[in-house]
Structure formats: structure tokens, C-alpha cells
């Protein structure tokens, strides 16, 4: 299944299926994007990032796709497992948009992914 992060805050996926979590970012000047996973009661955990000179990047069981034309970012999780249950959110940044680094990083509110056994 798939979701739009801000409009469908929950996504339920059968264990073993692939998950697709979407994020619509706001600033056309953004050129660096990050996906985080946050489990209940814990801090956000870095999953994968992508720069705007790429449209796809793969990690272990995860793939991030970037469509700059429509300002859309997605996270695909292959063969979803119970341990994938968490809130996932994206963040955008303008690499050259600050003097110090990440203080202009903008976060989405997230999508809760629930795994159905």
C-alpha cells in the first residue's frame, strides 16, 4: 500500500508485503532529503538520504525515490517486517541555504506504519 504522509497519517501493510510511504515537500529549492524512522518513546533514527542530483537511492531493504518535478519523495520498504512498525517522516534541507548546516531542516509530521501479521 501507499500513503501520502500528511493526508493519510496511518498505513497498514501485511507482513511480507512492500510498503510505500510518500512525502510531498514544499520548497523547490530543497536539495537534500532524509527519511527517519521513529519508534514509540525513542528518538528518530536515520534511514536513508538523497541529494537532488539523484532520483533514486537504495539501502538495505529500503529505496528512496525523488521526483523533483512534482516535489515528491517516497520511501519503499521491501518485505515489511514487524520491526518496521514505526512513524516515518521525511525532512528537506537546502544545502547552501544556511551558514551552519542543518538548522533550516524542515520535517514532515510523519506516517504511522502498522504491520499486520
Amino acid at each position: 500500500g501507499e500513503s501520502v504522509g500528511l493526508h493519510l497519517p496511518t498505513l497498514s501493510v501485511q507482513e511480507g508485503d512492500n510498503s510505500i510511504i510518500n512525502c510531498a515537500y514544499s520548497n523547490s529549492a530543497s536539495d537534500y532529503f532524509i527519511w527517519y524512522k521513529q519508534e514509540s518513546g525513542k528518538g528518530p533514527q536515520f534511514i536513508i538520504d538523497i541529494r537532488s542530483n539523484m532520483d533514486k537511492r537504495q539501502g538495505q531493504r529500503v529505496t528512496v525515490l525523488l521526483n523533483k518535478t512534482v516535489k515528491h519523495l517516497s520511501l519503499q520498504i521491501a518485505a515489511t517486517q514487524p520491526g518496521d512498525s514505526a512513524v516515518y517522516f521525511c525532512a528537506e534541507n537546502i544545502e547552501g541555504g544556511s551558514n551552519f548546516g542543518n538548522e533550516k531542516l524542515t520535517f514532515g509530521t510523519g506516517t504511522r506504519l502498522t504491520i499486520i501479521p
Binding site: F100, N102, L105
Partner: protein, 113 residues
């Protein structure tokens, strides 16, 4: 490898009491350090960031302050807590460049009663 430690994990404090939350980073030098607050169902709000010892920038006016007495230590404080200060506080670090991710601690759940 780099690690970030944040404590305490949970804290219950009465209104009007002081606050001190501590964060330390290991395995890196001269990191950028950040304090965020996360409200339930809402995004992360940047409170303070620091690019070096004694250098603190505040993003929003509030009842809180931050200090960086050492390169890898970041402290969030308040002289008198308000009910509205309740929330989940996260410390994070990053490298200087704007194309490196933030790495977060596990947060402090603060309840002001």
C-alpha cells in the same frame, strides 16, 4: 562510531521548578548540536542550535535556554517551568555541512505538573 547520549529519559517536574537536560556526543569533534521539541502528532520544532562552545542560537522565544560548556555537551535549561513546557525533547548532532543528516538521541519525556 559516533554516539549521542541524552538523559534523563523521563522527568516529572512541578510548575515553577528548574530544569536541566543534558546531552553528550562521543566519537566526533566540533559537531553542530541541536535541541528539538516534538509535540504529539506534530513535527519537530527546533529550539536551539550551536556551532561551537558558547555559541547558541535560538529559533523561537520561549521559557527555555541552552548552553554548550564543552565541545560535545549541550544543556537545555529553565529557571521556572511552565505547564506548556511539557513535551518530548530531543537532542541531535550533525556535521557542519548541510548535506549530512541529523542524528538524534532517544529523547526526554518531560511532564510539568
Amino acid at each position: 562510531s559516533q554516539t549521542i547520549h541524552q538523559w534523563p529519559a523521563t522527568l516529572v517536574q512541578p510548575v515553577g521548578s528548574p530544569l536541566s537536560l543534558e546531552c553528550t556526543v562521543e566519537g566526533t569533534s566540533n559537531p553542530n548540536l541541536y535541541w528539538y521539541r516534538q509535540a504529539a502528532g506534530r513535527g519537530l520544532q527546533l529550539l536551539f542550535y550551536s556551532v561551537g562552545i558558547g555559541q547558541i542560537s535560538s529559533e523561537v522565544p520561549q521559557n527555555l535556554s541552552a548552553s554548550r560548556p564543552q565541545d560535545r555537551q549541550f544543556i537545555l535549561s529553565s529557571k521556572k517551568l511552565l505547564l506548556s513546557d511539557s513535551g518530548f525533547y530531543l537532542c541531535a548532532w550533525s556535521n557542519l555541512a548541510g548535506d549530512s543528516p541529523l542524528h538524534f538521541g532517544n529523547g526526554t519525556r518531560l511532564t510539568v505538573t
